[in-house]
Each structure stands twice: as C-alpha cells, then as structure tokens.
C-alpha cells in the first residue's frame, strides 16, 4: 500500500491507505460504499492532505459515464430492450380514435377517484403521493416565527425578572463573603437557568 508523505501523526484505522482511497473514490462519490468503508475513507482523507485534495477535486468533477458494456452484456441488454418494445406494442394499437376515447375516460375516472380519496383522508388540497414531499418548516421559514418568539419572550418576561432579582441578591451577598462556595454555586445555577431560558425563547419558533 502506498502512503503519501504528508500524513499527519494521527493514528489510522486498519486498511485506510492512499491507494485504497484512490480505488474507492468513484464508489464513494456514487454513494455505493458501505457506511464503514465511507467512514474509513473520510477519516483517512481528513488526515492526509494529498487524499483530501484528491477527494475535493473529484467531488467537483462531473460524474463520469459508465464505460462501454462488454459484448456479452451488450447482447443480452439489447435483447431485453427488444422484449420491452414488443411488450409496449399495445400502446401503438391503442393509438386509434377509440383507444384515445377510452383512455381519456379511464383517466377521468382515475382523477375523480384520487380526488375523492384525498378529500376524505387529507383535506383534499394535496396531490396523491404528497408524503414524498416534505415542506420542512426550518428555521425562519414559518410565517408565525416572529410572533412565536415574541409570545415566548412575553411569557418569560416575569421569569427573567425573577432570575435577575435573584442574581442581584447573590451578587450583594458575594460582596460580603466573596469566597462563599455555596453562594457561588447558587449564582452559577441561576446563570445557567437564565442562559437556558434565553435559548428556549430564541428557539421557540425553530
């Protein structure tokens, strides 16, 4: 196995070497490596400057087309295509006026059936198969986000006041006994609670 000289001092998992990276690069980009192999490759690339550059360069290249099929495979593939075409000959026969009429009628029945099903089950405003489309309300996308954060802030206003008042009391107490471990612990707790509450208000709409 070849090893590039610019490897860092990081330990390397077994089997992770530069020639392995080279040989698996296309499979990695195509997403056909196993999770373990991918992880091993990524780990190696992260610790090897040359492989990292190779990976970066390959990632930005257009995906290469598959090489020409070998003759044996080519023959069987062409046979399969012919079989598929013969199977599709019914379509040619149906390209008559009667066929088009019957086809339109069947399509209309299908559309009505799908529409009725969707209205009954899901509100009727989504096409069939809508499950495959996710409208993810990610951060900032929802229209009510601003209102939610305001609402959360308003709900938490009294809590922030209580936290600040408690913190002020402890600061005063600590001026008298600055080395009091208990007081410092109380103060630390309150600061943590305050940070967490701020975080919750900020994240209320995410």
């Amino acid at each position: 196995m070849t090893q590039h000289t610019s490897h860092s001092a990081n330990p390397r998992p077994a089997g992770a070497a530069c020639d392995v990276v080279s040989s698996q690069l296309q499979a990695y980009l195509a997403g056909t490596l196993s999770p373990e192999e991918s992880a091993r490759l990524e780990w190696h690339a992260a610790s090897c400057e040359v492989c990292e550059q190779e990976l970066d360069a390959a990632s930005t290249r257009p995906v290469a087309f598959s090489p020409a099929l070998p003759p044996s495979l080519r023959g069987s593939t062409l046979d399969a295509v012919q079989t598929h075409r013969r199977g599709a000959a019914w379509y040619t026969r149906w390209r008559t006026r009667e066929g088009i009429g019957l086809g339109l009628a069947a399509a209309a029945v299908l559309v009505i059936a799908v529409s009725v099903r969707d209205r009954g089950a899901a509100g009727g405003d989504r096409p069939a198969g809508a499950e495959t489309t996710v409208h993810a309300p990610e951060a900032g996308e929802q229209n009510f986000s601003h209102e939610v954060v305001l609402m959360a802030g308003a709900q938490a206003a009294t809590e922030f006041s209580a936290l600040d008042a408690a913190l002020a009391e402890l600061e005063v107490a600590l001026t008298v006994t600055p080395d009091d471990a208990d007081l410092r612990r109380f103060r630390s707790t309150i600061r943590t609670r305050r940070d967490e509450l701020e975080q919750r208000v900020r994240n209320a709409a995410l």
Partner: protein, 281 residues
C-alpha cells in the same frame, strides 16, 4: 319577492349552522409511513393536541384532523420521518393547528415541536425530545432518554424510567413514580416528586419543591432553590440520610436525619424555608 329573500336567508343560515361543527372539527387526516424499529421522527404541531402511543408494528400512523388555517406536510424514509402542519396561506400569522393521534414503534426516537400544544406521550422506549412554549405536557411509562422543555406549560411525568431531563419556567412540574436519573430545572414553577426512585438534581429559583415518599436506596436526590420553599415528606422508618441547609434559618418540622442505607437527600436553599414532615405510618 320578499318571501323568497327570507326563504333564501333562512336556507343559508341553516346551511351555515349545519356545517359549522364540521368546520370547527377540522379536515380529517389519515397517513401511514413504513418505519424501522428505531425510526427518527420529527413532528411539528404548533397548536393543538398530539397524543402519541406505541404499537408493535413497523409503521407510523397518524390520524386526526387539521385545523382550517393549517395544512399537512410529511414525508421521509423508513429511518427518518417528518410530518406536521404549516400555515395554509403564506403570511398567515395564526398558529396552524391539528388534533392527532400518532402510533409509533416502541423504540422510535421522537422529536416534537409545539408552541401551544397539548401533548401526551405514552409507552415510548426510545428517545423523546419535546419542546413547547405553552399548553401542557403529559408523559407516561417512558423508559428511554426523555427531554422536555417548556416555558409556561405544566409538565407531568408518570412511571418514567431511564434518563429524564426537564426544563421549565413558570409551569409546574409533577413527577409521579419516576425511577430515573433526573435533572429538573424551573424558575418560578413548582416541582413535586411523589414516590419513585428519583436519582439526580432538582433546581428552582422561586418555585416551591415538594418531595414525598421517595425510595432513595442507592440513590441521591439533591434539591436546590433560591427562595422557593422545600418540603420533604418521608417515611420515618426508611428515611434517607438528609443534609439540609438554608440561610432562612434552621429546617423545621420532624427532627429526622435518616440513614445512608436508604439513600441521600440533600436540600439547599439560599433564602427559602425547608420543612421536613413524617409520612403517616
């Protein structure tokens, strides 16, 4: 002419009255997703009711209604599923609402986001993360890692095992028969612990804390408040070793010190009172 107008108005009124309950109930929804046993689920339901339970099937099932201002979205793979409601009209500032019953595999990993939600989760053995501002959270018989965060919503947890992390503010937290590694924090919300074997830490600022009849053998429960009153009600025959301190004066009530073999109970307050009571024999 006049009677026709009257008749028309009456018919319209009857139609509106007749359809009003249907509109108020929302649009029916039923969806299913194939799911792996430990499917990761993300559910967005800003407003409304969400009841989650488990079943022994390799799928996730959603049934219920979607409110008038909301519309359903959803999708994913068997390993990851995401669904919820979003505003039907862009720019609509109303919270989209729904009322759903969701069934998931027991080992599912749930992430639930609400704003004004009424959430109930029962029987989950996987992970649960739930966030809300207001509303209500009730979690029962969960055994995995559970994280519940709210600002104003009261949180109730019953018969939980595993790891339990709760962050509240104003809302009260009630724990019943919780046998879990615990981390609870509120600001002014009260915390009550009844029974169970809570092992961990409870912190409030102004919220009162009540602990009643915990079984702390091989466990340690630490309670800390800034100004909230701490009330400990223990069985004198099985009282855990208690370490109590407050700058508001000496703890009051029953003079119990307890024994280490029944666990440790540490209560500490800056200026809140600490009261110890014996449970009736």
């Amino acid at each position: 002419m006049m009677w026709r107008l009257c008749f028309g108005a009456a018919a319209l009124y009857a139609l509106l009255i007749g359809t009003a309950p249907v509109m108020a109930q929302g649009t029916p929804l039923e969806r299913g997703f194939s799911a792996s046993p430990d499917v990761a689920l993300r559910i967005y339901l800003p407003k409304g009711r969400l009841r989650v339970s488990t079943w022994s099937r390799d799928s996730v099932h959603v049934r219920g209604t979607v409110g008038a201002s909301g519309t359903y979205f959803g999708g994913g793979t068997p390993a990851h599923v995401k669904f919820g409601v979003e505003p039907r009209t862009p720019g609509d500032t109303r919270l989209p609402d729904a009322d759903w019953v969701v069934q998931v595999p027991p080992q599912a990993r749930l992430w639930i986001k609400q704003v004004e939600g009424d959430l109930e989760v029962t029987g989950l053995q996987g992970e649960l993360e739930a966030y809300t501002v207001g509303g209500r959270m009730v979690v029962r018989q969960v055994t995995g890692q559970t994280t519940l965060e709210s600002i104003d919503a009261p949180v109730t947890v019953e018969a939980a095992r595993g790891d339990l992390r709760i962050r509240g503010s104003k809302g009260a937290v009630a724990l019943r028969d919780v046998n879990a590694v615990l981390s609870v924090g509120t600001v002014s919300g009260t915390v009550t612990v009844t029974g169970g074997r809570p092992d961990g830490r409870i912190e409030t600022i102004g919220g009162a804390v009540g602990v009643e009849g915990p079984e702390l053998r091989d466990a340690e429960l630490e309670v800390q408040t800034h100004s909230g009153t701490i009330t400990l009600r223990v069985d004198p025959r099985r009282a855990p070793k208690m370490e109590l301190s407050t700058r508001a004066g000496a703890p009051t009530g029953a003079p119990l010190t307890g024994q280490t073999r029944f666990g440790r109970l540490v209560a500490r307050s800056f200026k809140g009172a600490i009261l110890v009571q014996s449970l009736p024999q």
